[in-house]
C-alpha cells in the first residue's frame, strides 16, 4: 500500500472514531442511569485510546503509545471500576431530573456542536492527519461543561469533568499530530486520576453528611 493511501485510511479511521466519541457524548447527555453513563465514558475513552494508538502507529511516535496505554489502563479500566464501586457503595443508581430536560439539553448540545465546528473551522484547512477532529474535541469540551452545569449529582459532574479531559486529550493528539510532550501528558493524566479519587471521596462524604448527592443542597446551612 502506498503511503498516501495509508494516510487517507488512517485519517478516515481517526475521524470516524472521533465522531463515535461525539456520539457517545451526546448519548451521555440524554442518559440518566449512572452505571450506563460510566459505561459510556469507558467506551469513549476506549475510542480515544484507539485514536492515540493510530496516531502513534502512523507517526512512529513511540511515546504516544504510552499515552494510549495509560488511557486504556486508567480511563477504560481503572476509573470506571472505581466509579462503579462508588455507585454501589452509595446506593444511588439514577440521576434526578436534570435542570433542563433531555430534548432541550440535546438541542443545546446540538448548538454547542455547531459552535465547536465553527470555531475549529479556521484550523481545519491545515493538512494534518485527522484534522477534522479538532471541531469534535472542542465540542467535547463545550458539551462536557454543559453536562457539568446541567446535572446535579456530584458523580455525574465528575464524569462530565472526565469527558472534558477526553476532549483535551483528543485535541492534543489531533492538533499537534504527535501528541504533547510525554511529561505534560503524564502530568495531566495523573492530575485527573488523583482528582477523580479525591472527588470520589468527596462525593461519598457529601452523601454521608447530606444524605444526598445533590450538589445544589451544598449552599444550604447545616445546623
Amino acid at each position: 500500500m502506498n503511503p498516501s493511501a495509508a494516510t487517507e485510511i488512517s485519517s478516515q479511521a481517526i475521524t470516524l472514531m472521533a465522531t463515535l466519541m461525539l456520539l457517545v457524548q451526546l448519548l451521555m447527555t440524554a442518559q440518566r442511569m449512572l452505571l450506563t453513563s460510566i459505561r459510556l465514558f469507558a467506551i469513549q475513552s476506549l475510542l480515544l485510546a484507539g485514536i492515540a494508538a493510530l496516531v502513534a502507529y502512523h507517526h512512529n511516535a513511540s511515546h504516544v503509545y504510552v499515552v494510549a496505554g495509560l488511557t486504556l489502563i486508567g480511563k477504560v479500566i481503572f476509573l470506571p471500576w472505581l466509579l462503579n464501586r462508588l455507585v454501589h457503595r452509595i446506593q444511588i443508581h439514577q440521576e434526578i431530573e436534570p435542570l433542563l430536560n433531555a430534548p432541550t439539553s440535546m438541542l443545546i448540545c446540538g448548538g454547542l456542536t455547531l459552535l465547536g465546528y465553527v470555531l475549529a473551522r479556521p484550523f481545519t484547512s491545515m493538512e494534518r492527519l485527522g484534522n477534522n477532529t479538532l471541531g469534535i474535541a472542542l465540542t467535547l469540551l463545550l458539551t462536557g461543561f454543559f453536562l457539568m452545569i446541567n446535572r446535579r449529582k456530584a458523580l455525574t459532574q465528575v464524569l462530565a469533568l472526565l469527558t472534558v479531559e477526553n476532549g483535551v486529550m483528543l485535541a492534543a493528539v489531533a492538533l499537534t499530530s504527535y501528541g504533547m510532550p510525554l511529561v505534560v501528558e503524564l502530568g495531566i493524566f495523573f492530575d485527573v486520576l488523583v482528582a477523580v479519587m479525591v472527588l470520589g471521596i468527596l462525593v461519598y462524604r457529601i452523601r454521608e453528611s447530606f444524605a444526598s448527592m445533590d450538589t445544589s443542597k451544598l449552599n444550604q446551612l447545616k445546623g
Binding site: 475521524t15 465522531t19 463515535l20 461525539l22 440524554a30 433531555a102 440535546m106 448540545c109 465546528y117 473551522r121
Partner: protein, 313 residues
C-alpha cells in the same frame, strides 16, 4: 421499466416480509430461553386471517374498510421505489426519497384514521400516540436520508445507493455515522419495536400500533398485519442499502450477479434482524412520555449529521 425485475421485487416484498417478522419473533424467543413460534408461523396466521369472516362495527364508516388496503398498497409501492437486490429500483423513475417518505406518511395517516373511525377508546388512544411519535420520528428520518442524499447529490434512492457503493474502501464519514445512528432509532420507532412500542403485547396502557388494530378482524386484519411487515422490510432495506450497499447488483447485471446480490441482501437483513433482536431483548420499553426524548435525540443526531456534511469539507 424492467418487468422481470418488478415481479422479482414484488414477490420478495410480499413473501419475505412475513418471514422477517417471524424470524425476529423466533430469535427473540430463543434469546429469552423460550421456544417461540416457528419463523414461518406468520404465513399461517396471515392465511387464517384471510379465510376468517370479518366483524365490523355498525358505527364504522367506509374509511374503516378502506384503510387496510391503503396501508398495504402504500407499503408495497414504497417497497418498489427502494433498491433491494439491484439498482435502479423498479419504480425509481416515479419517485425518490420524498415520495417514499410521503407514501409512508399516507399509509400512517390512514392507519390512524382506521383506528379512530370505529370510535373505540383504545383505537383513538393508539392513533393519538402514533401521531405524536411520528411527528418527531418522520423529520428525523427525512433529515437522515437527506444527509446521504446531499453526499450523493441526488434524491433518487438508486443513485444514492450507487454513490455510496462507489465510495467503498472508504469508511463511513462522520455525517454518515450520525445519520446511521439517527436512522437506527427511527427504524426501531417506526417498526414498533421495544424501546418505543411493544409488538408482542395487547396491554392497553402501553400499546401503540396494536391499539389501532384492535377493531380489525379477518381479511382487513390480514392486510394490516401484512402491510406492517412489508413496511418493516422496506425500512430495513432502506437502512441497509443506503448505508451498506455492499453486493448490490448494478444496472444490467446478469442472473448470477442478481443471485449473489440476493444472498448479500439476505445476509445483511439477517444481521440487522439480529441487531434488532438484541436491542429488543436488552432494553426495557420506555415510558410513553420518555419516548419523545429518545426520538428527539435521533432528531438532533440527524440534524448534526446534515450540518456536518456542510462543515466537513
Amino acid at each position: 421499466m424492467n418487468l422481470p425485475a418488478l415481479v422479482l421485487q414484488l414477490l420478495l416484498l410480499l413473501l419475505l416480509a412475513p418471514l422477517v417478522s417471524g424470524v425476529i419473533k423466533n430469535w427473540k424467543a430463543k434469546l429469552q430461553n423460550r421456544r417461540g413460534p416457528r419463523p414461518w408461523q406468520v404465513y399461517f396466521d396471515l392465511a387464517k386471517f384471510l379465510r376468517k369472516d370479518m366483524v365490523i362495527s355498525e358505527h364504522a364508516s367506509w374509511v374503516f374498510s378502506f384503510a387496510p388496503y391503503v396501508v398495504f398498497l402504500t407499503a408495497l409501492l414504497t417497497g418498489l421505489m427502494v433498491p433491494m437486490v439491484h439498482t435502479p429500483a423498479p419504480l425509481s423513475l416515479y419517485g425518490g426519497v420524498l415520495a417514499v417518505v410521503g407514501l409512508l406518511a399516507l399509509g400512517r395517516f390512514f392507519l390512524a384514521l382506521g383506528g379512530l373511525d370505529p370510535a373505540s377508546a383504545f383505537g383513538g388512544m393508539g392513533s393519538s400516540r402514533e401521531m405524536t411519535l411520528s411527528a418527531i420520528a418522520e423529520p428525523a428520518l427525512m433529515l437522515a436520508i437527506f444527509t446521504v442524499a446531499i453526499t450523493a447529490k441526488s434524491t433518487d434512492l438508486s443513485q444514492i445507493a450507487l454513490s455510496t457503493q462507489s465510495a467503498t474502501g472508504k469508511l463511513l464519514n462522520p455525517a454518515h455515522v450520525l445519520a446511521f445512528a439517527a436512522m437506527f432509532v427511527v427504524l426501531l420507532a417506526e417498526t414498533g419495536r421495544i424501546p418505543v412500542d411493544n409488538p408482542a403485547t395487547h396491554l392497553e396502557l402501553t400499546m401503540i400500533h396494536e391499539a389501532m388494530l384492535l377493531e380489525y378482524s379477518g381479511r382487513h386484519l390480514a392486510f394490516m398485519e401484512w402491510g406492517a411487515s412489508i413496511k418493516q422490510l422496506v425500512l430495513m432495506t432502506l437502512f441497509l442499502n443506503v448505508f451498506f450497499p455492499v453486493g448490490l447488483a448494478g444496472p444490467g447485471a446478469g442472473a448470477g450477479a442478481l443471485g449473489l446480490s440476493l444472498l448479500a441482501f439476505l445476509a445483511k437483513l439477517l444481521a440487522l434482524s439480529a441487531a434488532v433482536v438484541v436491542v429488543e431483548t436488552t432494553n426495557a420499553k420506555l415510558r410513553l412520555f420518555r419516548a419523545p426524548d429518545l426520538l428527539s435525540a435521533a432528531f438532533v443526531l440527524a440534524t448534526l449529521a446534515l450540518l456536518s456534511t456542510f462543515l466537513f469539507h
